[in-house]
């Protein structure tokens, strides 16, 4: 069975600096992969390379069977992503942002459930307000809702809970789990908060200075040190 994401001996440099150095891993359908590493380790570069937003110098990346570096439009409708920058249209309302995004990917029918999700995440009163009136956390929530409501096959998230309070974090994790189960969404996310990883992920990869250090199931990773995952993660990155 072909992997849904296949990253094969990928190298990416910025000048003389290796952002990714012979990185190989795969993601299977249904996986929830946590991709961890210190600042500047190559996490965002990996995500952007998989999405074809960055050109790699060596190796190849296949997503859903297609070479994304050459055939990025093959990802149409199948992949959504969430980066630091939410990519929202700030002069438009949440309703207009969602309507635009879902319309572009022929998912207009999902608008009602997207708006319902906004109500669930305590943003029901903000649906028809311009996004430039939102707080940082609210914008992040809207961007998450946008990503989930398109029901992609693959969802890539870079620090998805950045700026979100603890109460809403729990709600969002619940919603993500529900969507993952109901729609079979495969996820790959980066985060610095181990609690989020433990609640969401089934597998963990640790990267440092462009090289993979760990690639195993979360259960195995936790079992090795009696569930002190934060401690284990820190020891892994410090030992290198």
């Amino acid at each position: 069975m072909e992997h849904i994401v296949n990253v094969n001996h990928v190298t990416k440099t910025y000048g003389a600096k290796y952002a990714l150095n012979d990185v190989t891993f795969f993601v299977d359908e249904g996986d929830a992969l946590a991709y961890l590493g210190p600042n500047g380790s190559g996490k965002t570069t990996t995500l952007k390379s998989i999405l074809g937003l960055i050109e790699i110098q060596a190796g190849n990346i296949r997503v859903l069977g297609a070479d994304v570096q050459r055939q990025y439009t093959s990802l149409y409708g199948a992949v959504t992503s969430l980066f630091d920058e939410n990519g929202l249209y700030e002069r438009l309302t949440a309703r207009e942002n969602l309507s635009f995004y879902l319309g572009a990917f022929q998912r207009k029918g999902e608008l009602a459930s997207a708006l319902h999700l906004m109500e669930e995440l305590d943003m029901g009163d903000e649906i028809d307000h311009a996004v430039n009136t939102y707080s940082k956390g609210m914008k992040r929530k809207l961007a998450l809702i946008r990503s989930l409501s398109a029901h992609p096959k693959l969802l890539f998230m870079d620090e998805p809970f950045d700026g979100i309070d603890i109460e809403n974090r729990a709600k969002i994790i619940r919603v993500m789990k529900e969507h993952r189960e109901k729609y079979g969404i495969t996820m790959m996310l980066t985060s610095h908060v181990m609690a989020d990883i433990e609640d969401l992920a089934s597998r963990i990869i640790v990267i440092k200075k462009g090289r993979l250090l760990v690639d195993e199931s979360l259960d195995r990773f936790g079992l090795r040190v009696g569930k002190d995952m934060t401690g284990k993660y820190l020891r892994v990155v410090e030992d290198e």
Partner: protein
């Protein structure tokens, strides 16, 4: 241009129209008024020539082409700057490209809206100018085949060709802030000064064909460049 391409194109057209009418009504109105004010000063130069009423009416029609250029370069550039450069800076385009939206669909949709809005504002500006001339000078502007072709077709097409190339530059280069500030001023004042100098002159007919050829050629060339720009180039703003 398959179904996916068309969906992205339509979504962006609707979005740009919505955003523009929400946030740029004042700029559009001021552009129409200011262009008419500049044109008034050029028309005064024509009046000084002391031509007979028919000759004056024809000459006023002839200089309408400068209004086309002034308005389209100013408004069109403002729109292109907003649609292309701003969205690149705030990474909104990155989300769409990462989700597999075709960059040519995105670009063509934005250019289509910029062109549509520019044409509507041009017709408004020329209409307003005609009303003003009728009231102030008690004249009706008269267009010959040549002046109509220049005002309504050739000059707009030439300007849209230039704007399409500028839009590609906005997607390709990182530091376009200075250009973005200077270009509209240069276009406005530069073309207006040219109109003052040539207010009494008649424009040669071959200018229609030359302008059309350059404008269409630039647009096609720009589309080709867009299809070749790497996504990494479009999304990497700070690196």
């Amino acid at each position: 241009m398959n179904r996916n391409w068309r969906a992205v194109f339509k979504a962006f057209v609707k979005k740009e129209l919505l955003e523009t009418f929400k946030s740029m009504k004042v700029i559009m109105l001021l552009s129409v008024i200011t262009t008419n004010l500049l044109q008034f000063m050029t028309m005064e130069e024509v009046m000084k020539l002391g031509l007979d009423p028919d000759g004056t009416a024809i000459q006023l029609g002839s200089i309408s082409m400068y209004m086309s250029v002034i308005l389209i370069l100013f408004v069109g550039h403002t729109l292109v700057n907003r649609y292309i450069y701003d969205e690149r800076k705030n990474k909104a385009v990155q989300v769409m490209l990462a989700s597999g939206a075709d960059k040519t669909a995105i670009w063509l949709a934005k250019m289509a809206v910029a062109i549509l809005i520019s044409i509507v504002l041009l017709l408004l500006t020329i209409g307003l100018n005609a009303v003003f001339v009728s009231i102030y000078y008690h004249l009706d502007i008269r267009y010959t085949a040549l002046s109509a072709a220049l005002t309504f077709v050739a000059m707009p097409v030439l300007c849209f060709g230039m704007l399409s190339l500028i839009s590609v530059a906005y997607w390709y280069f990182k530091n376009m802030n200075v250009f973005g500030m200077i270009f509209p001023i240069v276009a406005y004042i530069g073309i207006w000064n040219l109109s003052l100098l040539l207010a009494g002159s008649l424009v040669p007919g071959y200018l229609v064909a030359v302008s059309l050829a350059i404008g269409v050629g630039l647009f096609i060339f720009s589309y080709f460049l867009v299809s070749r720009i790497k996504k990494e180039r479009i999304v990497s703003f700070e690196v």
